[in-house]
């Protein structure tokens, strides 16, 4: 462990438990947070694992319990600048700042849907990498003392005994919006109202969800197009780190070779558990797991009394102190309640199933693997190998509907397992374009464009003409007035091919949406069900479906594999679902959702009895009556004035 890392370890104290750097290379750092025992229970570990590929958070590479039952989570430590330093460096206008807060709200909403909360969102916790936004520490804070920088951002109801929840995060978002608005004079009134609304002392008086907060803030920003989006870090980028470490430490079963680093060893422990979970039977972790070292290492990570390591004791002592605090909570909770909370833990793990999106293949297999956890630890025997399937390809990035007028030309990368460089119009447009990803809109201007994919290079040239290698595929695409999707896929004879399709963007009748399912997989046909409709879809064909604006279930299967997703199709939306891959290696689905195809009702018939005429008649009658009343009075008055005048004249 280098000096730089140990400062990192101190950095993340208290609120997030104790973070120790366990692994790093030149540009990657992986930290392990030890959570408070009790509140960070089995259900929470499950939630963390399920959220591992949410956009905008540093992904949880692994979360479980150490051999001595301390909950932990292994998370990349991101070294991107935070909001405070970004704003110091560069003057941004209010709308741009607000759009960052909007992205934060959407990120938090995604986490909330997985049962994870933050508790102390503040400028220091929001990290910006170019135009990508990350909210640090989601799901790590379960009460406790917030870091100094987060003071004033924590909702009043959040205490060690009452952890953060959805509305307390909305409070923090409101405070965040207030903080970024400081010094600006052009803040819309609606934004001021949102700040007051969301920072109300009464949790029930706040916007109930982060999503609602996001939508209101979007309304405040208006037409300003956000440059920011939720960042994304694939856990696969870190899994090799785990693997290297685990391998390195495999022979370290005897204590002599554990000289390397206590933390590393504990990490081997973590890794072993992770592997055991992910690998059903064949692959092994036995070499590591049967050692006593990991358990000792894990405990020494926290309670080390080793004199020789005294130079590293400070962070460890901090950790110990924290654990004492944790233990104190437990004692205040009382022993009986602890048992209750465990029982609740298993219950809430059930409910967390409900909260998460409909069961996908991935979560299925994860469950399977969990159940085989025990045997695999005992029976397996080879070296650890990364299972590429364990990297979830199917999770959500924050991707929102695009207005049809702005949809232009988009590129769907449907060639499985190939990382590519995308050249649009002969210029590098996406470096390291991952399979299953959609790029764009590349442009909205009609015309002929060139699209090429090359195998991803380390330093791809900016201009396509500089590429000396052969493209995987290349093609010309014509963009007219209507949006075009370009799909790169493997055709039925196994060759990479490009296809472009215009979406059917004719306006929809009020109350309807449209779902177009495209089969770009190599499977001859796939079985699709959409709502209560089931059909097979041949390779290369598509199916256009008019649907009621509503939540509708979608499922596609090929062989033993299937993907299910509930689609919330709103009025005037078009969902393009691109199925790619193969039945052997698995099919995947990517979606392009367009909005703005709605039409207004034909008319507003809101009266059928003609009573308004009577009202008008009544009004005129009243007018007439008043005239009749007023006239004689006026006459008398006039006569009186006239007489008075005459009298004074005479």
């Amino acid at each position: 462990m280098t000096k730089g890392e140990s400062t990192e370890a101190e950095r993340a104290k208290s609120w997030f438990g104790l973070t120790q750097i366990v692994l790093s290379d030149s540009d990657r750092k992986l930290g392990v947070t030890i959570g408070p025992v009790g509140t960070w229970d089995k259900a929470h570990v499950e939630r963390l694992n399920k959220a591992s590929e949410l956009a905008g958070i540093n992904p949880v590479i692994d979360s479980d319990f150490t051999t001595d039952e301390k909950p932990y989570a292994a998370i990349p430590i991101l070294s991107y600048p935070n909001l405070t330093s970004v704003f110091k460096k560069k003057k941004l206008d209010w709308k741009e700042k607000a759009s960052i807060v909007e992205v934060c709200a959407r990120i938090l909403d995604g986490a909330h849907k997985k049962g994870l909360f933050h508790g102390a969102v503040c400028p220091e916790q929001v990290l910006i990498d170019n135009k990508e936004v990350f909210v640090d520490g989601i799901g790590m804070g379960l009460g406790g003392t917030a870091p100094e920088s987060a003071k004033g951002f924590v909702a009043p109801e959040v205490t060690p005994n009452s952890p953060a929840n959805e509305t307390s995060d909305v409070y923090s978002l409101g405070k965040l919006l207030e903080a970024i608005s400081e010094g600006h004079t052009d803040i819309p009134r609606s934004a001021k109202r949102l700040i007051t609304w969301s920072t109300s002392e009464n949790p029930e008086a706040r916007p109930p969800t982060a999503l609602e907060f996001a939508s209101v803030i979007r309304g405040c920003i208006g037409e300003h197009k956000s440059k920011y989006q939720a960042g994304y870090i694939a856990i696969s980028e870190y899994q090799d780190l785990i693997q290297v470490s685990a391998k390195k430490l495999t022979p370290a079963s005897d204590k002599e070779s554990t000289k390397s680093d206590t933390n590393d060893i504990s990490f081997a422990d973590l890794k072993a558990r992770q592997e055991a979970r992910r690998k059903p039977s064949k692959k092994t972790v036995k070499g590591i797991m049967t050692d006593e070292t990991p358990a000792e290492a894990a405990s020494s990570l926290i309670f080390s009394n080793d004199e020789e390591k005294s130079n590293r004791l400070l962070p460890i002592l901090v950790g110990a102190a924290l654990l004492l605090i944790g233990a104190f909570w437990l004692t205040t909770l009382g022993g009986d309640e602890k048992d209750d909370s465990l029982a609740q833990g298993s219950e809430s793990s059930d409910t967390s199933e409900d909260v998460s999106s409909p069961v996908t293949e991935d979560s299925d297999s994860e469950d399977d693997i969990d159940s085989k956890d025990q045997e695999s630890r005992e029976s397996s025997d080879d070296t650890i190998e990364l299972n590429p399937k364990s990297v979830n390809q199917n999770n959500l990035l924050v991707s929102t509907p695009i207005d049809v007028s702005k949809a232009g030309l988009q590129v769907v990368h449907g060639i499985p397992g190939v990382k590519a460089d995308l050249y649009f119009d002969k210029a590098l447009s996406v470096k390291g374009f991952e399979s299953g990803t959609i790029a764009g809109p590349a442009t909205t201007k009609p015309g002929n464009y060139n699209v090429s994919l090359y195998e991803a290079a380390d330093n791809p040239s900016v201009i396509e003409a500089d590429r000396s290698d052969q493209p995987i595929l290349t093609g010309k695409v014509k963009l007219g007035e209507e949006p075009v999707s370009v799909v790169a896929f493997i055709d039925s004879s196994g060759n990479p091919t490009i296809d472009s399709s215009t979406s059917v963007v004719t306006d929809l009748e009020p109350g309807y949406g449209r779902v177009i399912i495209h089969n770009y997989s190599t499977a001859k046909s796939v079985d699709v069900s959409l709502g209560n409709k089931s059909f097979t879809l041949n390779n290369g064909s598509n199916s256009v479906n008019k649907v009621n604006a509503s939540e509708i279930s979608f499922k596609v299967g090929s062989g033993d594999e299937s993907i299910a997703q509930s689609l919330n199709i709103k009025d005037g939306q078009l969902s393009n679902l691109y199925i790619y891959g193969s039945s052997e290696d698995g099919i995947e689905v990517s979606e392009i959702r367009l909005s703005g195809l709605e039409s207004s009702p034909s008319s507003v018939p809101s009266g059928n009895s003609g009573l308004l005429e009577e009202k008008d008649d009544n009004n005129s009658l009243i007018a007439l009556f008043s005239m009749l009343l007023v006239l004689p009075v006026a006459g008398i008055a006039l006569r009186k004035i006239y007489r008075d005048r005459n009298e004074t004249a005479s």
Binding site: D109, N130, R189, R193, T196, E204, A205, P208, T209, L211, E212, S215, V216, R218, G219, G222, Y232, L396, S399, T400, P401, D403, F424, D425, S429, V430, K431, E434, G436, T437, I438, A439, G440, N450, S461, V462, I463, A465, E509, Q565, D571, G572, V589, S590, E591, E598, S600, P601, S602, S603, V604, P605, S606, G607, N608, S609, G610, L611, L612, E613
Partner: protein, 200 residues
């Protein structure tokens, strides 16, 4: 030619701006071949679309000045795609449109009269710009003030503007108005009251 060189410079600048690449030396040939319209790095995304669920479903409309305190029902369209305005005592909210508190128009319609009875919006035309009204939605009370009261010939009702899902938040109250066609049992006009959100 000049244009192309400029384009190439812009490409380099764009790439530098993204911070992910080193400056590339661009040979003359490439400059010539470079497209005139360089692209920035494209945004990428993955998987299914996520969209927010607005929970601000309007529940009641309150206009003190007109003694209106009516329950709001979420409604769609009938078989002719006409706004499905509920019976006399209710206000209908167009559930396919915008929600209170979000951008675009939240559209509420109610009958001026229905089956021989006065409807909730019988006196809507008495509203004046500046009059306050409130909508209760999802445990919150949202406040609005009237900005305009307009009677349109039904033929020239700017219906797409009234039902837009984009732009600043407005509240549109719609009912019938004008002369009554006894044969068609319908009014010739629509009355539209537009209101805007105000701070609490």
């Amino acid at each position: 030619m000049k244009l192309q060189v400029k384009a190439a410079i812009r490409i380099v600048a764009g790439v530098l701006g993204s911070g992910s690449f080193l400056l590339a030396i661009i040979p003359e040939k490439a400059v010539i071949e470079a497209a005139a319209e360089p692209t920035d790095q494209l945004q990428t995304r993955k998987g299914f679309v996520q969209q927010f669920e607005n929970v601000n479903i309007p529940e009641s409309l309150n206009i003190n000045g007109l003694d209106i305190n009516a329950t709001i029902k979420p409604v769609g369209v009938d078989e002719n795609f006409a706004f499905e305005v509920p019976s006399a005592e209710f206000v209908g909210w167009y559930k396919f449109g915008s929600y209170p508190g979000s951008q675009g128009s939240t559209v509420l319609a109610a009958h001026v009269d229905y089956a021989g009875k006065e409807g909730v919006f019988f006196n809507l035309s008495d509203l004046l710009p500046g009059d306050p009204l409130t909508v209760e939605a999802g445990n919150k009370i949202l406040r609005y003030e009237v900005t305009s009261v307009t009677s349109y010939d039904k033929e020239s009702l700017p219906i797409d503007d009234l039902f837009t899902k984009n732009g600043p938040e407005t509240l549109q109250l719609i009912t019938c108005d004008g002369d009554f066609d006894q044969q068609m049992r319908s009014y010739k006009n629509n009355l539209v009251v537009t209101a805007r959100p105000i701070a609490i």
